[in-house]
């Protein structure tokens, strides 16, 4: 019997000639939490799919409990005791908690008829594994993300899981919920189950993991106990660059604020939010999920409508009823979720870039020349070095970073006073991230007022000249200049 539950050596995998994984090695110990860390697109999910049998590896060796595994199907992976909890949790929103818990094992057992009593017993057994309590008859779709996740974990435990893989489980959780999840994870760990936890959040990795495997561009650059690393080394391995302490220093901040909110309140989302924004500065608004940061941004863009409080723009009180009004008031917004809110993926890059500025490109009665659209798009392509040979190609052909540049150009091709960026570099590779940061610095120096909303603290620290921290819908702290450090923010945020 090997000391390790799962050992992977020299794993390679390529898709149509492109290497997704190059010589990956790591080991998972039973009764330990192993973190698989890395930025987006580094090959984490490919690796998980190889373990769970969705993909087959090209080269390398996989040992599970010391026995070599050559070919594996998802069903066999389940039999071995490997359970994957995907990001979408694989639940049925239209069925009850009980059904969600029991259905997988019923199918695996080859049952033909439904026996409510047996289902209920199975469901109760599943819940008892982690001592979790929830109404079995509640509809799955009506639960919170955290509850859904716990149900998914219970379901996985029914299969005598030896290894549970969790794919980015904390993405949509509040801090409290993350704590509860970690508690459960530790409980499982102590009962001898190995947990593989996929994440890119430094803080969480240091909090929960015993071992860590860091991946970058399909290779693993570090594998070993987490204790051997300092956060700085960890970030270096993740990004491949030394963390610089260069703060953005604004060159010319206007005296008068361009945007001012007073006692802004949106029921159940945020309360009594007052702040000022000057031209030339980059204001960071940070806080955990559910702190009201996104709703605040949406209120400034006309997609949420605070009942109380005022918004003043260039000294004039305004009411922002919808995005069209916001655009007229020279406010731009780069949304949080690029794929669903930012882009029309199956449309040309050029049309995406010019979508908000069609009025400028057309004549008085709405006539527009295709050439004008292409010309305009090409200007932005050059300016932001968007990597494509033809702007007539679909936006879906680009990488995350280049897609984000499209969304940015869409707003920058308008004449703006205020630009709000919500999570500007989520899912963006390191190179493009630096490009985008540099670009935002330039814009601020040219006199634009920028708001960056982000929970990526390093991003906030590097880019913002002033930071507002939100917690449970209220502003709980503000800092400027050298006071802006990750530790200072963390102190308030907790």
């Amino acid at each position: 019997m090997s000391e390790y539950l799962l050992e992977m050596t020299g794993i390679c995998k390529s898709f149509s000639g492109v290497h997704a994984l190059k010589n990956v090695n790591f080991k998972v110990r039973p009764g330990k939490v192993m973190c698989l860390a890395g930025e987006n697109g580094c090959g984490k999910s490919t690796l998980v799919k190889i373990i769970s049998g969705v993909y087959t590896k090209d080269e390398g060796e996989v040992l599970f409990e010391g026995k070599p595994i050559t070919k594996i199907t998802p069903a066999e992976a389940t039999k071995l005791g490997i359970q994957v909890i995907y990001q979408d949790l694989s639940i049925f929103p239209n069925l009850t908690v009980m059904e969600n818990l029991a259905i997988n094992s019923e199918i695996t057992a080859g049952k033909k008829l439904v026996n409510r009593k047996r289902w209920e017993a199975t469901a109760k057994e599943a819940l008892s594994k982690i001592g979790y309590n929830i109404d079995l008859n509640a509809k799955m779709g009506e639960l919170s993300v955290a509850d859904k996740q716990l149900v998914a974990i219970c379901r996985a435990l029914l299969f005598d899981a030896k290894l549970i893989i969790m794919d980015e489980p904390t993405t949509a959780l509040t801090k409290k919920e993350v704590d509860a999840l970690f508690k459960t994870a530790r409980q499982l760990r102590d009962s001898g189950i190995a947990i593989m936890f996929i994440s890119h959040k430094t803080e969480e990795i240091f909090e929960i993991s015993d071992d860590v495997c860091i991946m970058r561009n399909g290779e693993n650059v570090f594998a070993g106990p987490t204790a051997e690393l300092t956060p700085q080394q960890f970030t270096y391995h993740m990004t491949g660059r030394e963390l610089t302490d260069d703060h953005f220093i604004p060159k010319n901040v206007s005296k008068e604020p361009v945007l001012k909110t007073e006692h802004l309140t949106l029921k159940d989302k945020f309360e009594d939010v007052s702040f000022e924004l000057h031209k030339g500065e980059i204001l960071g608004i940070t806080g955990l999920l559910g702190s009201g940061r996104t709703e605040l941004a949406l209120s400034l863009f006309g997609l949420e409508h605070p009942k109380e409080g005022t918004i003043t723009l260039n000294g004039e009180q305004v009411k922002i009823s919808n995005p069209i009004k916001a655009q007229k008031l020279k406010i731009g917004y780069v949304p949080e979720d690029r794929l669903t809110e930012g882009l029309c993926l199956q449309q040309p890059i050029s049309d995406n870039i010019t979508l908000s500025s069609l009025k400028r490109l057309s004549n008085a009665i709405g006539l527009i020349k295709n050439q004008d659209i292409l010309d305009d798009a090409n200007i932005w392509k050059e300016k932001f070095s968007i990597k494509t040979d033809d702007v007539r190609k679909f936006a879906s052909t680009l990488s995350g970073g280049n897609q984000q540049k499209i969304v940015l150009s869409k707003w920058l091709s308008n004449d703006l006073d205020v630009l709000i960026l919500n999570g500007p570099t989520v899912g963006v590779d390191v190179g493009a991230k630096q490009d985008i940061h540099a670009l935002v610095h330039n814009l601020a120096n040219e006199g634009l007022a920028v708001i960056i909303i982000s929970d990526d603290l390093s991003e906030v620290v590097v880019n913002c000249s002033r930071v507002i921290v939100m917690k449970e819908g209220r502003i709980v702290g503000e800092m400027t200049g050298d006071d802006i450090t990750e530790n200072n923010i963390l102190d308030i945020i907790r």
């Binding site: 979408d88 997609l303 919808n322 995005p323 069209i324 916001a326 655009q327 917004y333 949304p335 669903t340 809110e341 930012g342 882009l343 029309c344 993926l345 199956q346 449309q347 049309d351 995406n352 010019t354 979508l355 908000s356 069609l358 009025k359 490109l361 057309s362 709405g366 006539l367 527009i368 020349k369 295709n370 659209i373 869409k410």
Partner: protein, 341 residues
């Protein structure tokens, strides 16, 4: 030259496929029925018949591109036609001059336009503001309009269409251009212009692809959807008015089979209710192909119109299956764009 053709065909799968289909059809009917196919009478029939559903197809195309579907257009059009014919019948009398009758007809057409616009606004509001899935909203409205027409006419055809109206409908301008075809050409030209050269057209494709992203890009998505239904339903109502001139009456259930054939034509042309895709030129090709099939089938005395429906259905299934092969599943339909996780 060859390279250019290759490039064209790789970019315009559908255009090439539809052109090929048309050539195959023409060759087939030339071999089997050369004597009947290449006569003035046959082609006159073709160009007189397709404008009716051709107009409706163009109308519904706008809905499809915007990511919606309309099932109510024929019922609405019949209702509008019934109201217009009733008005025209009541206000024309023996001995009126052509000028006076023309005035009455114009008012009749105005009534059609207004009713079409009302129907469009209702559809648009149900979908954009009440978030009812388009299929459900428009099926319900279809029943409402059909029910209204049936109740008002007790299921009878409404007659009394001014003879001037039917005369115009059958007139050949310059001896070769039938008026319905002229109407179709004008509407086609306007539609093509709207899609190709205006910001409306650009925005329509973007809304159809991702309505949420369009909203976040400061586009008035609700207004656009309502406007699109108004435009589409007015065009469809005019299609029904062409039907009035060929039937010389209006009835609650004229042309009900057009609902399905119009959707079929659009899918054949690569315009899917998913939105954001499709070219108007392909729609033209598909409309004409479908008409050639029915006219062609008509030339065989032992065949009935349902043989055409056999070919249409088979063709649609074939195209759907082929398209998944060609595009590697790029033709997959999002089941519910509104169901974001």
């Amino acid at each position: 030259m060859l390279a250019k053709i290759k490039e064209f065909s790789s970019k315009n799968n559908y255009t090439v496929m539809l052109l090929a289909l048309m050539v195959i059809l023409l060759v087939f009917f030339t071999i089997t029925k050369a004597g009947t196919l290449w006569t003035v009478g046959t082609w006159k029939g073709i160009v007189m018949q397709f404008p009716e559903f051709g107009l409706m197809t163009i109308g519904v195309m706008f809905c499809f591109i915007s990511g919606n579907i309309d099932m109510s257009f024929v019922a609405l059009g019949d209702f509008a036609a019934i109201m217009a014919v009733r008005y025209m019948a009541a206000h024309t009398a023996e001995g009126m001059s052509n000028g006076q009758v023309a005035g009455v007809i114009l008012v009749g057409l105005l009534i059609v336009t207004v009713i079409g616009a009302i129907g469009g606004v209702i559809n648009g509001v149900l979908i954009a503001y009440l978030n009812i899935p388009p299929v459900m909203a428009t099926i319900a409205m279809q029943l409402v309009w059909l029910g209204l027409s049936t109740a008002l006419t007790q299921g009878y055809a409404v007659t009394g269409v001014p003879s001037l109206y039917t005369e115009i409908g059958h007139m050949m301008l310059f001896g070769f251009l039938p008026v319905p075809l002229l109407v179709f050409i004008i509407v086609f030209a306007i539609a093509a212009f709207l899609l190709k050269f205006t910001t409306y057209g650009k925005k329509l494709y973007m809304i159809g692809t991702n309505v949420k992203a369009a909203k976040f890009s400061a586009i008035n998505t609700k207004g656009m959807i309502i406007g699109t239904f108004v435009l589409a339903d007015i065009i469809c109502c005019y299609g029904c008015m062409l039907m009035v001139s060929s039937m010389n009456s209006a009835k609650a259930d004229y042309g009900t089979s057009y609902v399905m054939s119009v959707i079929l034509i659009l899918v054949l042309a690569g315009v899917l209710p998913d939105g954001g895709m499709g070219k108007i030129f392909n729609v033209l090709l598909a409309v004409v192909s479908i008409q050639i099939i029915s006219s062609g089938v008509n030339m065989f005395s032992n065949l009935n119109p349902y043989h055409a429906s056999l070919i249409w259905g088979g063709l649609l299934i074939l195209v759907l299956i082929l398209s998944t092969k060609f595009t590697g599943g790029g033709f997959k339909l999002r089941k519910s764009p509104k169901k974001n996780k």
